[in-house]
Each structure stands twice: as structure tokens, then as C-alpha cells.
């Protein structure tokens, strides 16, 4: 749909965002690799710093890490531009097909990651979150970019925008929780000197889940509300609906696992990884199992 200059501009923003995300990832990977040299750096030294408070781990990231973070902000800005331009061009939230939804998912992962990075100075999470964002954006490049008008079921501007916007926050939070959980597992198995201590990673994954879980609940509730209006029933065991319930149940299991002896730590982290796999399954599910969510 090259006819609309806004959509064309939005494509340029998209590619700029993709390039920025890749550059940021490169920066972070190099930063992580260079930590080995700067072993004394307080930010990342040793698996068990003396007082494991959040403030202690907050060291100055090296130049490469700063570059990574700055470029991630840039990527977020570009992708925001992509989404805003598409929303303006189409007159509804940019969430009506897989192309738009993939970009929005990547946007959510970057946004939630940057929030945690800002708050806890944990740029190392970016080493896991950014590949997820890059993969989503590369996937988006394979999809048709046409801004097709909405089919009748999607003609509910308010719910389309809110339901999916909330989903993006939830998915982004699960991406960050997943990143922290992976790093936690690596840390607790191999005591990697380059990574922050396991306790902090465990806390971060829990905090990200505390954002993700209520938002996912809201996604499901809003989805049910919409389904009642558009499909005539609030729950119809539609595959995408069901997949989101799987995610919700595993996430609920994770929260309970944290207070059950023998499930804390590694097993809980594995559950969080399952949450993210289920999230991806929910996201991509409609591609292979049809159902009422056939559009995105």
C-alpha cells in the first residue's frame, strides 16, 4: 500500500527500528564479553556480592552497555513511530494483523525491558530480551504489510485497542521475566562471574511476572467481554483463548511455586520459561490452529 505516504514512512521507521535493535544487541553482547576483562567492575563482579541489595549491583555500565541502552531507546522511538503512523493512517490501534501485532510485541518487550533497565540498571537482561525483539521484527519483515480494512468482528475500536495494548504489556513483561529466569538458571548452575547474582535475577523475574500476570488476566477478561459482544459468548474454547489460559495457569502455578518448599529457585525459573513458551504459542497459535482469532 505504497499509496499512503504515512504507511510508507511507517515502513522506514520500522526498518530503522529493526537496525537499531540489532545494533543495540551487538552492543550488549560486546559489553557482556568485555566484562570478563573488567572483572573488578562492581556492577557484575562475582556471583555473591557482599550485601546483595539492588543498589550495590547498580554500577556504571561500560561504554558498550551505554551504547546498547541508548540504541534500544532509539529502537523503541522508531517502533513507536511505526505504530503511531499506522494507527493514524488506519484510524484504529495498530493491532489488526500479524505484521502489526509482531511489531507491537517487539515494542512491548523493549518498553518493559527499558523500564527494568532504568530501574535496576540491569542491562544484561537485554542480551536475552533483544534477540526476542529482533526475531519478532525479522518475522514481521516476512509478513504482508498491507493495512487492510477491518473485518466486522474487529470493528470495535475501543476493545481492539485496549485488549491488544494490554496484551503487549503482558507479553513484554513475560519476555523480561523469561530473560531473568534464563540468566538465573545459568547463574545458579554455572556461577557465571559475568552475570548479576542469582538472588537479584530471581527478584527481577518475579517482579516482571507481577506486572505480566494481572495484565494477562485483564487481557483474558477484556477478550471475554469482546467475545460476548462479537461472537455471542464470553468463552468458546477458541484455540487462542485456550492457549492464553494455558499461559495464565502456568503463570499462576509459578506464583504458587515460589512459596512451596522445593519449588523455589530453579524449578520456579523453569516454570517462567514455560510461561514464555506458552506466550509465544498463544501469539503464533492462530497460524496453525485456526479458530475464531484467524486474523491475528
Amino acid at each position: 500500500m505504497g499509496a499512503d505516504p504515512m504507511l510508507e514512512l511507517s515502513e522506514y521507521f520500522f526498518f530503522a527500528g529493526l537496525i537499531a535493535t540489532i545494533l543495540a544487541l551487538v552492543g550488549y553482547v560486546l559489553a557482556l564479553a568485555s566484562v570478563r576483562v573488567a572483572r573488578t567492575q562492581p556492577a557484575l563482579a562475582g556471583p555473591q556480592p557482599s550485601a546483595g541489595t539492588v543498589t550495590v549491583v547498580r554500577g556504571e555500565p561500560g561504554g558498550l552497555a551505554s551504547f546498547g541502552t541508548l540504541t534500544t531507546w532509539l529502537a523503541l522511538a522508531f517502533l513507536t513511530g511505526t505504530l503511531v503512523l499506522r494507527a493514524v493512517a488506519t484510524g484504529h490501534g495498530p493491532f489488526s494483523n500479524m505484521y502489526e501485532f509482531s511489531i507491537a510485541f517487539a515494542w512491548g518487550s523493549l518498553a518493559v525491558y527499558l523500564y527494568f533497565e532504568r530501574r535496576y540498571r540491569l542491562w544484561v537482561l537485554g542480551v536475552v530480551v533483544l534477540p526476542v525483539a529482533v526475531a519478532l521484527l525479522l518475522y514481521a519483515t516476512t509478513l504482508p504489510t498491507a493495512a487492510d480494512p477491518l473485518v466486522p468482528a474487529l470493528q470495535n475500536s475501543l476493545l481492539l485497542t485496549v485488549h491488544v495494548a494490554v496484551a503487549i504489556v503482558a507479553y513484554g513483561a513475560f519476555a523480561v521475566a523469561f530473560a531473568a529466569a534464563i540468566l538465573f538458571l545459568i547463574q545458579s548452575r554455572f556461577a557465571a562471574r559475568r552475570l548479576p547474582n542469582a538472588q537479584l535475577l530471581d527478584d527481577i523475574s518475579y517482579r516482571a511476572t507481577l506486572v505480566g500476570f494481572p495484565f494477562l488476566t485483564l487481557v483474558i477478561v477484556l477478550g471475554a467481554l469482546w467475545a460476548e459482544v462479537a461472537w455471542g459468548r464470553y468463552w468458546s474454547w477458541d484455540p487462542k483463548e485456550t492457549a492464553s489460559l494455558v499461559t495464565w495457569l502456568i503463570c499462576g502455578a509459578y506464583l504458587h511455586a515460589r512459596v512451596v518448599r522445593g519449588w523455589r529457585g530453579e524449578r520456579a525459573a523453569l516454570l517462567l520459561m514455560a510461561v514464555f513458551v506458552a506466550t509465544l504459542f498463544t501469539f503464533f497459535g492462530n497460524l496453525f490452529f485456526g479458530g475464531l482469532h484467524s486474523y491475528a
Binding site: 541489595t53 538472588q199 502456568i250 511455586a257 504459542f281
Partner: protein, 489 residues
């Protein structure tokens, strides 16, 4: 001048179990057997296991083809459906069927896990609610010294101020952090309990119980509600809704419109709802815009061709006059099929018309094929192709295909449980936000007189509230400052 000795917060939770606040300890019911049962249901391990089992079953329900609802009660249709999926699941088809995995969400496994989960949720709520109440309303005041020494977050403040002014300073510091402060003196030691968001943990009870509310709402809806997924209303005709509603619905028009790319843009039916013979509601129903009347909802769902038919006796008496929807497609996709019944004559009439875009030599555009059966018999009395406007005489009646029409397909449903579902959903989300964003924060302190002043110990346990740690440090800083100030004045 006071001196602060912060106890270092050991945060290696895997090796170090946080000291439990005595209020959190579980007390036990008297009867042994009942106690064992109760303990089984309130165990977090059971909840965890059930959630994982439900997650696995739900996953199975997503991955394995599920039989459409209602079809399982019809053995013939179910067998046909099973044959349809057999190529996909091959030798596993029988096993999956026996394990009820083609209907996971009504299977014994799913129902049993749900029932156990509800029991567990209720038991947990009964068990926890009074304890939360006690914790919020009447917290235990006197804490042993060991608590202050071993709590995960702690600080010791020695000061030259008197115990009374230390208490005043401490109270002021806590209040500035929006904490409620209660104090009690016992054998010369002042025990302080300061807390904030003490009603937050009730969000947990609300969230857990709301899950039960949602399921109860779903159960009520499926037990006492009704749902008709295939109410086809030909344009210009009135169709009774049934299910004891006394309603009928007329479609005065239907339109389907499309975008340039062929995708649908709108389906709209102009409907009139009648109660008896009185029109009670007129509305254009679209996808996303249902018509609601007296607890009954009409949703736009599907559409298709219909035939306006007239049947009369040779003397001209009307037997039937109305639209007949042709909602079914033939197996080869070339024809649309509909059916109507003439109860007084004991006849069932099948109408077969060409599907749109299909060219058929036997039934051409502007024609319809009539297959008339004596109700209950397998062989037709007659099969005849009728052209529009030309009566065809079959079984002593004149059948006239008046014209082609469209029908609009509606879902009509009454769900008396839906308000509970929405109430539960609201409570679930609200409860969850309260639990996660307003966790109960409680800090304990003890003030002892010491030579030359006072000794203040501040301690807190924290579970699942990671943000609290930094706040605790801030509070201790302020407490120290306030006690300091109290000693110099």
C-alpha cells in the same frame, strides 16, 4: 548522638529461610482425620499441582482437535467426526477417544481437577481469611528478641534519647511513611507494630474466591440459560425464538457488504422482536452490536440464501407462506439445502437450490428442487424442479417458489450466569492489582531502656514484596534521624 548498626540483610533465600512472623503460623483443627483432609486441601502443593494439571489438559485441548460442542451426545455424528480425524491421529484415535481427549473440557479429568481446585480454593480462603483479619486488626505485639536478631531485614539503633522520646520519634518517622503505628509496653520494653496496606492481603482472598464466582456463573449459565447458535431468519419472515421466551423475531432486511479486496466489511440485519404479537424492540443488529431484550441477546452470526415459498390447496387455501432458509451446503458444495415442515399434512419438504456462483444443469438459476417426504419416511413422495412463480403440484398441493431471498443467521442466547462471570472477573482483576501493588508491609520495633538512653531494634520480614527492601532502608534512616532529633532537643 546515636549510632546505627544495621544488620546485614542476608538474601540467600535458598539457604536461608526467612523467620516466620508468628501470625503466619498455621494452627490446627482438633479432629485428626478432618485435619488431615483440611491440610491436604489447604496445601499450596496441591494448588500448584492442580494448576499444572489444568495447564497440561488445556494445552492438550489446544493441540488435539476438539469435537464441536453438542456433537458428542449424538453417537452417529460423533462416529462420523471421529472418522474425519482418524487420518490425522491414526492408531491413536481410539486411545484419545477413550481418554476423552477429544472433549478435554468436559472430560472427567478436567472436571475432577476443577472440582478439586474449587475445594482447595474454598478451604484456603476459609483457612486464611480469619488469620488475615487477625493480622490486620489485632496483630501480635510482643515479639521475642530472637525475631529482631534473625529477621531478614533489621537494624539496631542505640541512642541517648529516653525510651519515651525514642518512641515519639519513631512514631513520627513511621507516620511520615504512611504507616499506622500501635505500641504496647510490657515489662519496661515498648513493642511497636507499624504497618501499611493492611487490607492488601484480602485482595488475595478476593482474587481466589472470584475464580470460584466465575465458574459458578459459567455453571449457572450452562444449566439455566439457553443458546441457539443457528437461528436462521429469512428476510420478510418471523421466526419464533422458543425456549419459553414467548418471543419471535422478524428480519425486515439483511445486507452484506464487502471491501474492494473482497473481505467483508459489514453484516447488518434489521430486526423486530415481538413478544406475542406486540413489537417490543426494533434494531439493526451487526457483529459487535447485538440486540438485547429482557435478558435475551440476539447476535449477528451468519447468513445465506433463502427461498420465499407458498403452498396452497387446489382450492386456493394457504397452507404455508413464508421464507425458508437454505442454511446447509451439499457435500459437493454445489447446492444449498433447506427444509420446512407442513405439520397438518404430515409432510417434510426439502428445498435444494444452486449455491451462488455454481452452474448446475438440473437446477438452474431461478429454479428450486422440491423433495417432499411423508414425515418419518425415507423415500420421497416426489422430487420436482420448480421454476420461480410457477406452481408445482405435489401430493395434492400447489408449491410455488415465489422468489429468492436471503436469511440472516442469529445466535440467540440467555445467560443468567453472565453477571456473576463479570462480577468475578472484575473482582479477580481488582483483587490481583491490590495484592500485587498494595502488599501489606509491616515493621516491628522494640524500644528498651539502656544505660545513657535507649536501644531500638527495628525488624521486618518480607515475602514476595521485593520493593520493600529499599523502602525499609529509607524508613530506618528516618527513624534514626527522628530519634536523633528527639535526643538533642
Amino acid at each position: 548522638m546515636s549510632q546505627v548498626i544495621r544488620t546485614t540483610a542476608t538474601r540467600h533465600r535458598r539457604t536461608h529461610e526467612p523467620v516466620a512472623d508468628p501470625d503466619d503460623r498455621v494452627s490446627i483443627a482438633p479432629s485428626y482425620v478432618l485435619d488431615r483432609i483440611f491440610r491436604f486441601f489447604i496445601s499450596m502443593k496441591l494448588g500448584l499441582a492442580l494448576l499444572l494439571v489444568l495447564a497440561l489438559l488445556t494445552l492438550a485441548g489446544t493441540l488435539i482437535a476438539q469435537v464441536p460442542s453438542g456433537m458428542k451426545s449424538d453417537p452417529q455424528a460423533y462416529a462420523a467426526w471421529l472418522d474425519g480425524v482418524r487420518p490425522k491421529y491414526r492408531g491413536w484415535t481410539g486411545t484419545l477417544d477413550r481418554l476423552q481427549l477429544f472433549s478435554v473440557f468436559t472430560s472427567i479429568w478436567f472436571r475432577a481437577a476443577m472440582a478439586l481446585l474449587i475445594t482447595s480454593l474454598l478451604a484456603c480462603s476459609i483457612h486464611r481469611a480469619p488469620r488475615l483479619w487477625q493480622k490486620a486488626a489485632r496483630p501480635r505485639m510482643r515479639m521475642p528478641d530472637a525475631f529482631f536478631e534473625r529477621a531478614p531485614l533489621g537494624a539496631q539503633i542505640s541512642s541517648s534519647s529516653t525510651p519515651d522520646s525514642a518512641l515519639a520519634g519513631l512514631t513520627q518517622a513511621f507516620r511520615s511513611h504512611h504507616f499506622r503505628v500501635t505500641a504496647e509496653e510490657h515489662e519496661g520494653v515498648t513493642y511497636v507494630c507499624a504497618d501499611r496496606f493492611r487490607w492488601g492481603p484480602f485482595g488475595r482472598v478476593v482474587a481466589h474466591l472470584s475464580f470460584v464466582v466465575i465458574l459458578v456463573g459459567g455453571l449457572i449459565g450452562s444449566t439455566w440459560g439457553f443458546r441457539d447458535n443457528e437461528l436462521a431468519v429469512p428476510v420478510g419472515s418471523r421466526v419464533t425464538v422458543g425456549h419459553g421466551t414467548g418471543l419471535s423475531v422478524e428480519a425486515t432486511s439483511f445486507s452484506d457488504s464487502y471491501y474492494m479486496n473482497g473481505a467483508p466489511s459489514d453484516f447488518a440485519s434489521d430486526l423486530v422482536v415481538y413478544k406475542g404479537d406486540k413489537a417490543v424492540r426494533t434494531q439493526t443488529v451487526r457483529v459487535n452490536h447485538p440486540l438485547r431484550y429482557d435478558g435475551i441477546s440476539f447476535y449477528q452470526s451468519f447468513f445465506g440464501p433463502a427461498a420465499a415459498m407458498r403452498v396452497s390447496t387446489p382450492t386456493g387455501a394457504r397452507v404455508f407462506d413464508g421464507g425458508v432458509p437454505l442454511p446447509w451446503g451439499s457435500d459437493d458444495g454445489k447446492h444449498r439445502i433447506g427444509r420446512f415442515v407442513l405439520p397438518e399434512q404430515g409432510l417434510t419438504v426439502f428445498l435444494v437450490g444452486p449455491a451462488s456462483g455454481e452452474v448446475d444443469r438440473t437446477i438452474q438459476a431461478g429454479q428450486i428442487q422440491l423433495e417432499v417426504y411423508k414425515t418419518g419416511q425415507d423415500a420421497p413422495v416426489a422430487t420436482q424442479v420448480a421454476s420461480q412463480g410457477k406452481p408445482a403440484r405435489i401430493a395434492g398441493l400447489d408449491f410455488t417458489f415465489v422468489r429468492e431471498r436471503q436469511f440472516t443467521g442469529l445466535i440467540v442466547a440467555r445467560d443468567p450466569g453472565s453477571w456473576l462471570v463479570w462480577l468475578g472477573a472484575t473482582l479477580l482483576v481488582a483483587g490481583m492489582f491490590v495484592v500485587f501493588f498494595f502488599p501489606h508491609r509491616r515493621v516491628r520495633a522494640s524500644i528498651k531502656p539502656a544505660p545513657g538512653g535507649s536501644e531500638t531494634a527495628v525488624a521486618a520480614t518480607w515475602r514476595n514484596d521485593a520493593r520493600f527492601e529499599a523502602d525499609f532502608d529509607d524508613i530506618v534512616d528516618d527513624v534514626q534521624l527522628a530519634i536523633d532529633r528527639a535526643s538533642t532537643t
